[in-house]
């Protein structure tokens, strides 16, 4: 047996979240004014930014490692979580029956899971982190059954899809354990680099990919996504589309970077049709939707398809660009869902696209923010969405996949239609009635304005952010064998 170290300072963030979550569950029954939970969660997340700077690098029992990669991804996840908590405060003021301390506690538990997932050193920890991330989300989706009877159905669909994903991933883990004898990512790399057990490990990787593609709603397994998105409360949808997918993609990149990196060309050939189909079907089905949340669900399917294009070429530059893409998508989604929360507080029917007609006459500021964020989702030049797609296409061109780049470019033209339709309805249709203006709550508009600023800034000058991510990946790869 080798020496293990149990440095609790390494997992300080997770411990803090755990204590806070348990505290909410203990105390919530006795406090009448439920806003305490928001203030406490906000304070804890702000505290965690400090913790993230000062926690030492190192590993906990060789399962959890804080290093350049995991610390950076956790920083992005924390920023996303802060924005989601801010927009959910405004949402919960309107929907009182959801306003419990447990709502925030389940958020925190889910965050623990995503943190563990991106920092895991072996596949077992990764799988457990994934479960810990998903299970609170099932409850969060089901919790809105007071307002929306369909929410239990959507939650159950997500749960069953998640159970199938777990089964597939565990099958893959069993195959890895059979062929390597350990589940650690570095051991898998050592085995593969010697050219041993290549067939078994490829099968295992494909099973793991199938499990991940259910969770990420890649195409053959995308059916649960629209129902679950529509059924859940709006901040939970933002969490599901932004943070959960970001964490899943970065964990999969971690698997591909260390563990299975000798198999990345083989994986690319399998992933190529999946990602192209994902983009096509996500874009095509988004055209028909009248409910805007459902439309955004299909668009999130398409966006994950674009992100997975970066894995195809199999170079580390592409992995960094995927993280940039998902980061831009995270900010954009949270901004869009914040605006939807504002609109749905004014009038419940605003979630249907035809009834948004002529909103720009009475709400010029909100319509302009919607315009910028939807341009970013569609990939129109002065926004960050364009730069993110541009970088992904650059990786494709570098990997000599020119026809894939051309095809996905064509699909992105199809994918632009649903966003432009919303903008056309808002700006060009005549309003059937006058709309009264709601107040601009600070807690709701601060994250929206921030995400819009980020989208514009990175659309004009993305270099610092991209360089930051690429430098992180470079440092992580070069320090891989260094024991902190």
């Amino acid at each position: 047996m080798f020496a293990l170290n149990f440095k609790f300072s390494v997992i300080a963030l997770e411990l803090l979240f755990l204590i806070a979550g348990i505290f909410f569950f203990l105390i919530d029954k006795f406090i009448r004014n439920k806003n305490y939970a928001f203030y406490l969660t906000f304070f804890i997340i702000i505290l965690c930014f400090g913790f993230l700077l000062f926690t030492p690098f190192g590993d906990f029992a060789r399962a959890y490692q804080r290093d350049f990669y995991s610390a950076t991804i956790q920083l992005f996840l924390l920023i996303g979580a802060l924005l989601v908590v801010l927009i959910s405060y405004a949402f919960l003021q309107e929907f009182k029956a959801l306003n419990y301390g447990e709502f925030y506690a389940l958020f925190l538990f889910s965050l623990i899971g995503s943190f563990i997932m991106v920092a895991s050193q072996d596949l077992l920890t990764l799988y457990l982190g994934m479960e810990l991330m998903s299970i609170p989300v099932y409850f969060l989706i089901a919790s809105s059954f007071v307002y929306n009877r369909n929410s239990i159905e959507g939650s159950l669909k997500y749960f069953i899809a998640g159970a199938i994903a777990s089964a597939l991933i565990i099958l893959g883990l069993a195959l890895v354990y059979y062929s390597v004898g350990l589940l650690s990512l570095k051991e898998i790399f050592v085995q593969l680099a010697q050219g041993l057990k290549k067939r078994e490990l490829l099968l295992a990787l494909l099973l793991i990919l199938a499990g991940f593609s259910i969770k990420l709603s890649l195409v053959p397994f995308h059916m649960w996504a629209p129902d679950a998105y529509q059924a859940s409360p709006l901040p939970v949808t933002a969490f599901l589309a932004g943070i959960v997918k970001f964490a899943l993609i970065s964990a999969f990149i971690k698997i591909m970077m260390i563990g299975f990196s000798p198999l990345r060309i083989e994986l690319g050939t399998f992933l190529l049709p999946i990602s192209l189909l994902t983009i096509l079907i996500g874009s095509l089905l988004a055209i028909k939707q009248d409910n805007i949340v459902r439309m955004l669900a299909y668009s999130s399917i398409a966006h994950v398809g674009y992100a997975s294009l970066g894995i195809l070429s199999g170079d580390y530059l592409g992995y960094g660009f995927i993280i940039f893409y998902m980061l831009v998508y995270l900010f954009t989604t949270i901004g869009v869902f914040g605006l939807l929360i504002y609109l749905s507080r004014l009038k419940r029917e605003y979630l249907e696209i035809p009834s948004m007609a002529g909103v720009s006459k009475s709400l010029p500021l909100v319509s302009f923010l919607v315009l910028i964020l939807f341009f970013s989702l569609a990939g129109v030049p002065p926004t960050a969405g364009f730069m993110a797609k541009f970088y992904i296409f650059i990786t494709l061109l570098k990997g000599n996949l020119i026809w894939v780049a051309i095809l996905s470019l064509l699909f992105s033209v199809i994918g632009a239609y649903p966003y432009l339709r919303v903008i056309k309805v808002i700006y060009m249709d005549s309003p059937p009635y006058e709309v009264e203006r709601g107040e601009y709550a600070v807690s709701l508009f601060a994250p929206i304005i921030l995400s819009v600023l980020v989208v514009i800034l990175w659309g004009i000058y993305p270099k610092p952010a991209v360089d930051f991510i690429q430098r992180t990946l470079y440092l992580y790869m070069s320090m891989l064998l260094f024991h902190f």
């Binding site: 293990l4 979550g21 569950f25 029992a61 399962a63 029956a97 419990y100 506690a105 409850f139 007071v146």
Partner: protein, 174 residues
Amino acid sequence: MNWNMLIFLYLAFAMSFSSFLAIISRNPVHAVLWVLVMILHQAFLLYTLGSEFLTAVQIIVYAGAVLVLFLFVVYMINLRKEERWKVFVRRSSYGFIIFLFFLYFFFKNLAFLTALGPAFKAQLPYDLSQGSNLLWMARYLYSHYLFQFEVIGCILLVVIFGAVFLLRKLKEVG
């Protein structure tokens, strides 16, 4: 023929017979009870192989928890209509063909499958003469796999919390 072989043959016969009866019995409660018989025999088979922990898991988890869940489902769903069906699955002959297919592969790869057990035993990272399976498992669980163990604890905690959360809202909001 020694005692080991006799016991194994009895267990194998009992397991296959009870699982067959579980499939063909019309009454769902009877089917569940036949599965219980099968699981108990399976537990004993694992005990003869020297893995006492798996025996305990088999009895506690499968016989104790999973089958009780099955019984709940059987009681909750009204199966009267299904019981009166002459044939439950049509074209079951296709299933028989698939069964023959699997049987063929089983016998074709028999040598490979029988070599799997000793290969795994040779790969074991611990020495069974130094302590029982249970002891080694406990040692690993509280040292190498401590983090994973704690994460599983967290998952169970979250599940309990979530169930309580939903029920509390059902009570307070309606």
